[in-house]
């Protein structure tokens, strides 16, 4: 599936007439024999008994294109698209088996459904396209752009954006898995680019406690611009955030990115500023205890003043003694 997340379509053979046909087929989808996910999953679930239908098992995984046609029913059911019938999206050529070869590669763009609806407004697909084209994924892959599309990162069969109700560690794991699918997997990486595979442990050698960071923040915290709304402009390593204090400070960017939903409630708890993250992590410089800070400063000043007064008086008395002699 080529990247047509935002545009009407960029796929081969996808033209105005095709679009019309697809729309017509979509309305017919409800009556097709393969319209329900359960029907398709008879073959497309991992471990399905394909021999029942005389399907060649090697067809399920296209290793050359790094495409896996198997769908995990559990993950699909939990995904944002989990209630949809497969043929809502897979319109052309999938209504029968064997699927029609001549329409292979023709898929719906996200905007086919999300055009003018509340989600498309919220997600700003046009903005995403702009950001994506400015991202390192697009800019640095001139020769291999055809291999890189929205679905390279975002598998619509497991896609779940219900961040507000998802625990932060799960959000981190889920989002980082998207990046690490290629950036920690040479085969997947080389399927979408000619560039040499950069080992993340090498490229992140400068980062103290790298593993700890990967467990507790998302790659995109540093590898996207710090904008109010999440940006799909993935930054090159040179442009990515290298200043630790961007997160490790009172005005940490984590408050407006990873923990933005938690921060809507309260920034202070048990005297801590940025307390919303306390349940998951302690970020030096960010999760400070304001009460302790305040009192330690007061005590410090008192001690300093006390020592200065004591020392000053000693010097004064000593000077007087000397003058008397």
């Amino acid at each position: 599936m080529k990247w047509k997340w935002f545009a009407v379509s960029l796929g081969v053979g996808w033209c105005a007439s095709g679009m019309g046909a697809a729309q017509a087929l979509r309305s017919d989808a409800q009556t097709d024999t393969l319209h329900l996910a359960q029907d398709c999953l008879q073959c497309h679930a991992p471990g399905a008994d394909l021999s029942r239908f005389g399907v060649d098992p090697t067809l399920m995984v296209d290793s050359a294109k790094q495409v896996d046609h198997r769908i995990d029913p559990r993950l699909f059911a939990q995904s944002n698209h989990g209630t949809l019938a497969c043929r809502i999206c897979h319109i052309v050529g999938k209504e029968v088996y064997p699927h029609r070869k001549e329409v292979e590669g023709n898929f719906l763009a996200c905007t086919y459904c999300h055009d003018g609806d509340s989600l498309s407004t919220a997600l700003d697909f046009a903005g995403i396209e702009e950001q994506f084209k400015a991202s390192v994924h697009w800019q640095k892959n001139e020769r291999t752009r055809a291999n890189f599309d929205c679905y390279t990162c975002h598998d619509p069969h497991v896609f779940d954006r219900t961040e507000e109700t998802t625990a932060v560690p799960e959000v981190i794991r889920r989002d980082n898995t998207v990046c690490l699918n290629c950036h920690d997997n040479p085969a997947n990486f080389e399927a979408v680019t000619d560039r040499e595979f950069p080992y993340i442990r090498v490229t992140h050698e400068w980062l103290p406690n790298a593993e700890l960071h990967w467990d507790h923040v998302r790659c995109v915290e540093c590898h996207t611009p710090h904008t109010e709304r999440f940006s799909h402009k993935i930054l090159a390593k040179e442009e990515s955030e290298h200043l630790c204090a961007a997160c490790h400070s009172k005005d940490s960017i984590l408050a407006t990115t990873l923990y933005k939903h938690q921060f809507r409630e309260s920034r202070r708890r048990r005297g801590f500023i940025n307390a919303a993250i306390l349940g998951d992590a302690y970020v030096i410089g960010m999760t400070r205890n304001a009460v302790l800070d305040r009192w330690s400063l007061r005590i410090l000043w008192l001690v300093l003043i006390g020592l200065c007064v004591h020392g000053g008086l000693r010097a004064l008395v000593a000077a007087k003694r000397r003058s008397r002699r």
Partner: protein, 223 residues
């Protein structure tokens, strides 16, 4: 007449001055990380954390060296308070620091080879070296290796109590260091006790000699 006592052997002086230097480094880098700011960093965060970690490791190793040295050389005895008359001597020492020091009066408790600390030093050093320092070292190790910390403590991430204990411990040790440096100026001269700690020899002068040297204030104080 001057009495000279070799109170601070080489290993102890090496530990003391290394400890002092590392402490200063740790306070500056620790404060810089705690109050990290993008616009006006005291020390850039990545530099601060690297230096803090290295200094912390060396300090921890030196602490073990100090403990071992104390056990082997018997220096630990100086930290054990003599309870008989302890309060009276502590009050006398406090009165000296608060009042008699201005009159240039004599130090109420002279160091000896058997007991080199006055009661206030004893109780303070005991707390610092055998209570605060272990807390600082252990919590520092948890902060360096957070996976060793419990997953949850009191419903929050397991590392925050370590961080709080580390900050509080570091704060009290910083206060101690300030007071320690200041009290080191209360010798026969302002620099006398620093010299003692540099050479290892503690000199006890009689009052007439001190007067003739033009001492600025009280005799013999903290070391």
């Amino acid at each position: 007449m001057t009495q000279r006592l070799y109170l601070y052997p080489g290993w102890l002086r090496l530990w003391h001055w290394s400890n002092a230097f590392l402490f200063a480094v740790l306070i500056v880098t620790g404060l810089s990380m705690h109050y990290a700011d993008l616009d006006s960093p005291l020390v850039p965060f990545n530099v601060a954390i690297t230096v803090h970690n290295i200094a912390g490791f060396i300090l921890s190793a030196l602490y073990l060296f100090f403990i071992a040295g104390n056990l082997v050389k018997g220096n630990w005895r100086h930290y054990v308070p003599v309870f008989n008359g302890f309060m009276g001597r502590a009050i006398a020492q406090a009165r000296f620091y608060l009042f008699e020091i201005y009159r240039g009066g004599p130090h109420p408790i002279q160091p000896t080879m058997r007991q080199k600390f006055n009661p206030l030093q004893q109780i303070t050093y005991l707390g610092v070296m055998y209570f605060l320092m272990p807390i600082l070292v252990v919590t520092g190790l948890f902060l360096q290796f957070p996976t060793l910390a419990p997953d949850k403590i009191l419903g929050a991430g397991g590392i925050w109590p370590m961080a709080v204990a580390h900050s509080v411990g570091a704060f009290f040790l910083s206060i101690f260091m300030m007071a320690h440096i200041y009290l080191a100026t209360t010798g026969d001269t302002v620099t006398a006790l620093f010299k003692h700690m540099a050479t290892g020899w503690h000199e006890i002068h009689d009052a007439a000699e001190v007067e003739s040297q033009g001492a600025t204030d009280s005799p013999r104080g903290d070391s």
